[in-house]
């Protein structure tokens, strides 16, 4: 309990930024960005997710171990995603010209 924790003000500010980002991403969504619409949406979502994790879940306020666990979970998901996609993205490459 002695450790540093966010104040009500910080929570309220986080809440405001999250709502603003939600509005922003909803409006950007209405614009046709072609292949980038998913990418922009996901980047904003990840910013929002990080804000929730840092300020609401105190991910950076707790011990180093907690940070390692949180980062580990995300890293392992990226292993699953990255290696699986590596197969799908290169499956149609052929080393020799197709006959």
């Amino acid at each position: 309990m002695s450790e540093h924790r966010p104040t009500v003000k910080t929570y309220a500010l986080t809440w405001g930024i999250l709502l603003a980002l939600t509005l922003l991403t909803s409006l950007i969504g209405l614009v046709d960005l072609g292949p980038f619409s998913l990418a922009v949406g996901v980047v904003i979502a990840l910013i929002k997710a990080s804000l929730i994790a840092i300020f609401f879940m105190h991910a950076l306020y707790g011990s180093k171990l907690i940070r390692v666990v949180a980062a580990g979970g995300v890293a392992w998901f990226l292993i699953l995603l990255g290696i699986t996609l590596a197969d799908y993205l290169t499956r149609n490459w052929y080393p020799f010209a197709q006959r």
Binding site: M1, R5, P6, V8, Y11, A12, T14, W15, L18, L19, T22, L23, T25, S26, I28, G29, L30, V31, D32, L33, P35, S37, L38, V40, G41, V42, I44, A45, L46, K48, A49, I52, A53, F55, F56, M57, G62, S63, L65, I66, V69, A70, G72, G73, V74, W76, F77, L80, L81, T84, L85, Y88, L89
Partner: protein, 217 residues
């Protein structure tokens, strides 16, 4: 020395600080397993989105866009009240804690209501794979994949919301009947962690299911 915290100390621990750290660590490890649980479905989404980009964009245009956007805001509000609930518990303000927990649950119910309404609309539109999916247009068969992933992932998310509501109900009872106090409020904290995590998942779900085709509306 017989304070509320020593009464709540389980026999396997030596002191309250150790118990608090261990329980919090346990919750974070659990959240890491949740990342992998949803991660498998995110992977499936990525694979099929890469293979069937046009169909996924098109199907995404059939989402109830503003319902999804409003629901995102709703869930963020519930996260805010949850954070305030944890904050009140830390400060030992029991009434305020109960109030914020109940408020969080109420907003959570609103989210589930809107979500259920959306699912019901899709059902009426014959968009539920395996039950009544009707293909429309050349992209139809590939759109079914989108809708399956949509129902699987938002369904799994809604299940987590229901579990969260159950957990919060127990927390309200524990605060009211006194096993939670200023010295011992770890259960509220870890319930909060779970609630926020479920929020995080939704924020990403909104981005991958609603936004790619929103401009087609």
């Amino acid at each position: 020395m017989v304070s509320a915290s020593s009464l709540a100390l389980r026999q396997q621990f030596n002191n309250p600080a150790q118990q608090r750290e261990t329980v919090t660590l346990g919750m974070w490890i659990f959240l890491a397993t949740e990342v992998m649980l949803f991660g498998a479905l995110f992977t499936a989404y990525s694979v099929y989105r890469i293979y069937y980009t046009p169909a996924f964009t098109h199907a995404s245009g059939e989402m109830e866009y503003w319902m999804g956007a409003v629901n995102t805001a709703v869930l963020i509000c519930s996260s805010f009240t949850m954070a305030l609930g944890v904050h009140s518990a830390e400060a030992g303000k029991k009434r305020l804690t109960v109030l914020f927990l109940l408020l969080t649950m109420l907003i959570g119910c609103i989210f589930l209501g809107i979500k259920f309404w959306e699912h019901y609309r899709h059902y009426l539109d014959h968009k539920v794979p395996g039950i009544n999916f009707q293909e429309a247009g050349a992209l139809g068969p590939r759109e079914q994949m989108f809708f399956f992933l949509y129902f699987a992932m938002t369904g799994l998310h809604a299940f987590h919301m229901l579990v969260g509501l159950g957990v919060l109900s127990v927390m309200v009872l524990r605060v009211v009947f006194g096993s939670i106090s200023r010295e011992y409020h770890t259960p509220i904290e870890i319930a909060g962690l779970y609630w926020h995590f479920v929020d995080v998942i939704w924020v990403v779900l909104f981005a991958i299911f609603y936004i790619p085709g929103a401009h087609l509306r």
